[in-house]
């Protein structure tokens, strides 16, 4: 592009909204949040700068246990989503064509055109003690009393996987679609079995899609609030829940900000490690979504 021939004015006019957005809505707020997280409350309207709020986190097993639990549940839901979604994506991208393909792909998207709240609400109706599954089990005689399937980790997992599926399937279908069929055929032609082709050709090719799907799903799970709270009930403990309660029921912004920062650190760290392990770059994988 002959930048030199273009007006500098246009450049600055285009740059301005970007900077305005990033600086006032992303960068400064995070700086501000960090500053607030360093305020230790020492009395009525009296604050001092310290790491006391972070100390609270590290001194209270509850908080870092929740932190760890949130992380591994999120990782588990990411892996599960990948395992369930990959065969589906492969089916759509490689084993169907034309109208069937479009239809199946659309069917994958439809649930996600409605809000997460509605989707979770649906699961609540299905899983609750007076809900559909319990009723069906009793009806067919597999249970003689109502069965409670809500309010446990499995329910949370179902909800998380369900809610994240789109964000896995879309990038996977996109990358698998871009895999030239003749590569797969060439693999067969050269004597490979289906499994060898999956391992040596399909998965390496789909790696950017896998990584981008995993990052997004992981972030969505980690940052989720509704699903754990509505499906997990009294065991819903989720780190975002702690942050919300600091802000919304404890009006303790200082501790809440510290928690927020810790969550941000954790998510960035895990994403960073994931990118390094898979040798992908953020810019490249995110263009997949």
């Amino acid at each position: 592009m002959p930048v030199t021939d273009r007006s500098k004015l246009t450049f600055y006019l285009l740059l301005a909204p970007l900077l305005l957005w990033l600086v006032t809505l992303i960068i400064l707020p995070h700086v501000g949040m960090f500053i607030v997280s360093l305020r230790e409350k020492v009395g009525v309207r009296e604050y001092e700068t310290s790491f006391a709020n972070y100390a609270v986190f590290f001194n209270e097993p509850l908080y870092w246990n929740t932190f760890a639990r949130t992380a591994y549940m999120s990782i588990a839901s990411t892996v599960l989503t990948l395992l369930i979604g990959f065969p589906i994506s492969y089916y759509i991208a490689k084993l169907t064509r034309g109208r069937t393909k479009t239809t199946l792909f659309l069917m994958c998207l439809i649930p996600f055109w409605v809000s997460e709240l509605v989707r979770t609400f649906g699961w609540m109706i299905l899983l609750r003690e007076t809900g559909v599954f319990s009723g069906v089990l009793q009806y067919v005689g597999l249970a003689d009393a109502p069965v409670e399937m809500l309010y446990n980790d499995a329910a949370i997992m179902v909800g998380l996987v369900y809610t994240s599926m789109l964000f896995m399937v879309v990038p996977l279908v996109t990358t698998l679609d871009s895999l030239d069929d003749s590569l797969i055929e060439a693999g067969y032609d050269l004597g490979a079995s289906g499994f060898a082709i999956l391992r040596e050709i399909v998965i390496p090719h789909a790696m950017p899609g896998i990584v981008s799907g995993c990052i997004v799903v992981f972030m969505l799970s980690l940052g989720n609030y509704l699903t754990p709270i509505l499906l997990g009930g009294k065991d819903s403990l989720w780190f975002t829940g702690l942050i919300y309660s600091q802000f919304i029921t404890r009006f303790n912004w200082e501790l809440g900000s510290a928690f927020g920062f810790l969550l941000l650190g954790l998510s960035s760290l895990i994403v960073f490690v994931g990118l390094k392990l898979s040798r992908q770059s953020l810019g490249k994988t995110m263009a997949q979504t």
Binding site: D180, S182, L183, E185, A186, G187, Y188, D189, L190, G191, A192, S193, A196, E200, I201, P204, H205
Partner: protein, 364 residues
């Protein structure tokens, strides 16, 4: 030696829904032959090749490799390899891993693989590149790696689906010669698909000209060029002037015709179905037409033309003449000797060609 052919097709057909892409084709390819299938886009070449490779099941007919039917053999077990149009080199592997892929699938041990890969790469003139990435190669080198990848298994038959289609003009010219040399060196049977007649002519031992799912003619390049058996082959292979004319009389092979513009032509009957009073297609190659400054006293066809256009192109220059009598346009190859280099637009010149060079086909 009349040993069993490497490849034999018996009345093989393929239908998609109610569209018949390949219609009852039979042919045999003897060991070591460079066999080309030449035809326009959509005529069914790829479909035929994919049936041989095992990627598509024939609707009817049988396929034999080394005399044994392979209809029930899956593609990963067939002794045929395929070079894909866009080569289908695995971008996620380096060159060595690409070439060694099939050996790994067979569980050959690592050091043997390494050795065999190096050996076959050397044979295609690419020794020592095993550790480089596919993308670091030029188009022609990629081509050779794709062939090496197939040859490492020593297949009975190598299938190639327009492998030069994606290359640029100069490289394509070069690779034509190289491919033929590689084939001769490996002495493997090649089945080569193309829609470019010059590729087929230059490389092949045998060419099958395909159209609408059938083979119109199978023969050597020279047979196809000098003795095309159908109007389609005459028009598709090589350049030709084409006239429509009405048959006035037939005597044995000799046909007399009259074009719409009123010119009388003498030709040889080159296909069945010609009858007095019917319309016929007449083909004459541009290089068969001779020029002369004065009216020639020959027994063939000819007349006087006005130069419409001189298409100077070095050794391949042509003139376009307007036949004064019939108003037909005639392309004439200018002699390489440079004789008629002075012709200019608007000038008049005599032209003529021999009866034997005038091939007449019934209009279907």
């Amino acid at each position: 030696m009349t040993s069993t052919p490497d490849l034999e097709a018996r009345e093989i057909s393929k239908s998609f829904d109610d569209f018949k892409a390949v219609k009852d084709i039979s042919f045999t390819v003897p060991q070591g032959t460079f066999f080309s299938i030449l035809g326009p886009s959509g005529c069914g070449k790829t479909t035929l090749l994919r049936m041989i490779a095992g990627f598509q099941k024939p609707t009817s007919g049988d396929l034999l490799i080394k005399g044994r039917s392979v209809l029930d053999v899956p593609p990963n077990k067939r002794q045929v390899s395929m070079v894909f149009q866009h080569l289908a080199l695995f971008p996620m592997m380096n060159i060595g891993a690409n070439v060694g892929f099939s050996l790994r699938q067979r569980g050959v041990n690592k050091s043997d693989i390494k050795q065999q890969v190096e050996h076959v790469l050397e044979r295609v003139g690419l020794g020592g590149v095993a550790d480089r990435s596919v993308s670091s190669l030029s188009g022609g080198q990629k081509q050779r790696v794709a062939i090496a990848r197939c040859m490492v298994l020593e297949p009975d038959v190598l299938l190639l689906d327009e492998p030069l289609g994606a290359l640029d003009l100069k490289l394509r010219e070069h690779m034509k010669i190289e491919l033929k040399q590689l084939q001769a060196e490996f002495n493997t049977t090649f089945v080569y698909i193309t829609h470019d007649q010059s590729e087929a002519l230059v490389m092949s031992d045998q060419i099958a000209v395909m159209n609408h799912g059938v083979f119109e003619q199978v023969g050597t390049p020279k047979e196809l060029y000098y003795a095309p058996q159908t109007a389609f082959v005459a028009g598709f292979v090589g350049e030709a002037n084409k006239f429509v004319a009405t048959v006035e009389s037939i005597a044995g092979n000799a046909v007399t015709l009259r074009t719409q513009g009123g010119r009388s032509l003498q030709g040889v009957a080159a296909g069945a179905g010609l009858a007095k009073g019917t319309k016929a297609h007449v083909f004459v190659r541009p290089e068969a037409v001779r020029l002369s400054r004065s009216a020639p006293q020959s027994a063939g066809n000819g007349g006087e033309g006005i130069v419409q256009n001189v298409l100077f192109n070095g050794a391949n220059s042509q003139v376009m003449l307007l036949d004064q009598l019939s108003g037909a346009e005639i392309n004439v190859a200018l002699p390489q000797t440079g004789e008629y280099r002075d012709l200019v637009k608007g000038g008049a010149v005599h032209f003529w060609w021999e009866t034997e060079q005038t091939r007449v086909y019934a209009r279907d």
